[in-house]
Amino acid sequence: MDTHNDYEVDLGNLVAFDPFHHFPSANSAREELVSECIRKGTELVQEIANSLFNLPSTEDVDGPIVKLPPPSTKLPREKPLPKPKPPTKWELFAKAKGIQKRKKDKVVWDEQTESWKRRYGYDRVNDDNDVPIIEAKMTDEPGEDPFAKRRSEKKKKVEKQEKSRLQNLKNAAKAGALPSHVHLAATALPITGTQAASKKLTKDELGNVAGLAATATASGGKFDKKLAGEKPAKHEGKFRKFLPVVEGSGIGSQEREQTDRVLSKLISANSHDILNVDKAVNMYNVKKEKKRRYQQGKAFVPSNKLKPNSKPMKANRKPIKKSVKGGSSSKKGKGR
């Protein structure tokens, strides 16, 4: 404990380093070595604790809290420093013209509806839906729908804003200061002269095409040199083709023919097995037996069975009829 000045202590990381300690014998027993390490470690930990517990602390419910100094050991970052965002075109313009930002109220008095409304967004002031009448002006062109004009103008404004937003984000991306939540995804370039942008080929489609190309030689691709990392074609054989199930003429009837053919083939091949004589005789005998038994039973049962049933039926019927008659109107009966 008398060589305080020899230790390098980084309180921010709670690290202590003794650069002068030397183990005398490298071949000493393992246990001795470990105990020596622990003894020396305790000394160093005590050294950190000495300065740590002497820092000004504030009491908290969980224990005393000290404010650590920043770490003195320099370690590399994991990601580069964030770069400042370049100014947008508007910001540049505003700076050149000396335009300053003003705070605007969130709600504005709407004269159309005579109420306070939001400046932007849903249920906003001067909304398209709230303007019932647009007064004609001298400058208006005849035959033009002022409402449609309003709508298209709004749409154009939104499009323009979207375009400038994209441009500003592109500039930011170039400076390496794209906001973390924005991702600029490249879309396929439209072929000049065509309307729609061409669809991007999927991985599978590309694989299929590559497979076709690889086998389109005289040898069927057998003697071709394989490229590094080239995989065998995924579809070596033909694709399976199914006929339409819906009935019709031409191809439509082929499906039925096909199944008919299969069926007739099956039947003709197994024609001798279709009628199992033994089974048929057996079934006939069983049925006959059942019928006989049923008729026997019927001779005794019916008189007993019918009588008890008839009485409750009659007894039930009478009160029902009465209740129906007693009810003054059908509505009342329904109400119950």
Partner: protein, 313 residues
């Protein structure tokens, strides 16, 4: 043509925010993964993972195509680093030439920054240490780290290992530290020019009569010898880029505080509605009970009440 893509959910947005570069970084995550391993190496990796539980990701599948020191062998490592947002990786593999091999490396901007390869010897897992379990430190507490030996200053490879170990073990960089939460030390000792003895100890704080308590270390494991094999230092331009720090601290937005023309502070204070009607009284005295009070009034007006009436509806 470019298309602006933004996350659909707030959660995704926050997740991206967390991954974006920051002015002041607070800690690195560790990715622990393996190629062909032995039983011992599996234990080493698992114990390392448990030590760094709160800031580590463990991959248990075999990733044999990773060879960090060879050209082209680091591609999937960089991919994993980007995927998991980890900037320190520990790759364990074993072979005849290099048995029980650990490659510890760091990445900068998802690119390999530096590497060091160590062999593990004399490994003792945490279970083999007998100690009072009450002393076991809580997970996620800030550790002390102690380096002993002149090797860490004189030898190049050990110097490098010291930096990597410090980066890996130090945990989160904090400003405020709770002194009650201290309880563990990593003791790293340079035994020879390429061998480091690393062990994990618990701290017992004993009363000493003064503010500073007397410390005592109890080995709780795991402990191991790390033998340095190969290492690769970062190239200078990358190091220069990675060592950049910002002078200014990130500004925290202060709400509701403004300054007037003279330079005085004006604060807006918002007081929520005091719901006095709904407030619960600390103790319901018997005299305050409604029924009793009413019964008393009745009895004083007329004759004594015979029965209590509950007047709840």
């Amino acid at each position: 043509m470019d298309k602006i893509k933004t996350p659909k959910t707030g959660r995704a947005r926050r997740e991206l925010q967390k991954r974006s570069p920051k002015l002041v970084e607070t800690g690195k995550k560790t990715l622990i993964l393996q190629g062909k391993t032995s039983g011992l190496l599996n234990n080493v990796l698992t114990e390392l993972f448990h030590l760094k539980r709160e800031s580590a990701i463990r991959y248990t599948r075999k990733n044999e195509n990773i060879r960090p020191f060879e050209a082209g062998g680091e591609t999937s490592l960089e991919f994993f680093s980007k995927k998991t947002d980890c900037s320190i990786f520990v790759y364990g593999s074993t072979s005849k030439k290099r048995p029980d091999n650990l490659v510890i490396g760091r990445t900068f901007d998802y690119q390999i920054y530096d590497l060091i390869e160590v062999g593990v010897e004399n490994f003792k897992c945490a279970d083999s240490f007998a100690y009072d379990k009450k002393l076991a430190p809580q997970a996620g507490t800030k550790p002390f780290i102690v380096f002993i030996g002149e090797g860490f200053k004189s030898e190049d490879q050990l110097k490098h290992l010291k930096e990597v170990l410090l980066d890996m073990l130090r945990g989160e960089v904090v400003e405020n530290l709770n002194l009650a939460g201290l309880g563990r030390v990593y003791v790293c000792t340079a035994i020879s020019s390429n061998r480091v003895f690393l062990t994990h100890c618990a701290i017992r704080l004993k009363k000493s009569g003064i503010i500073v308590p007397r410390t005592e270390l109890i080995e709780i494991g795991p402990s191991m010898d790390l033998v340095v094999r190969r290492y690769r230092l970062p190239n200078d331009s990358l190091r220069k880029e990675a060592m950049k720090t910002s002078k200014d601290k990130p500004k925290k937005k202060i709400k509701n505080v403004t300054e007037d023309a003279v330079g005085g502070k004006i604060g807006n204070i918002y007081i929520p509605d005091q719901k006095i009607g709904e407030m619960a009284l600390p103790n319901k005295a018997k005299g305050l009970k409604r029924e009793r009070r009413e019964a008393k009034m009745k009895s004083s007006n007329n004759e004594p009440a015979t029965k209590k009436h509950k007047e709840d509806s």
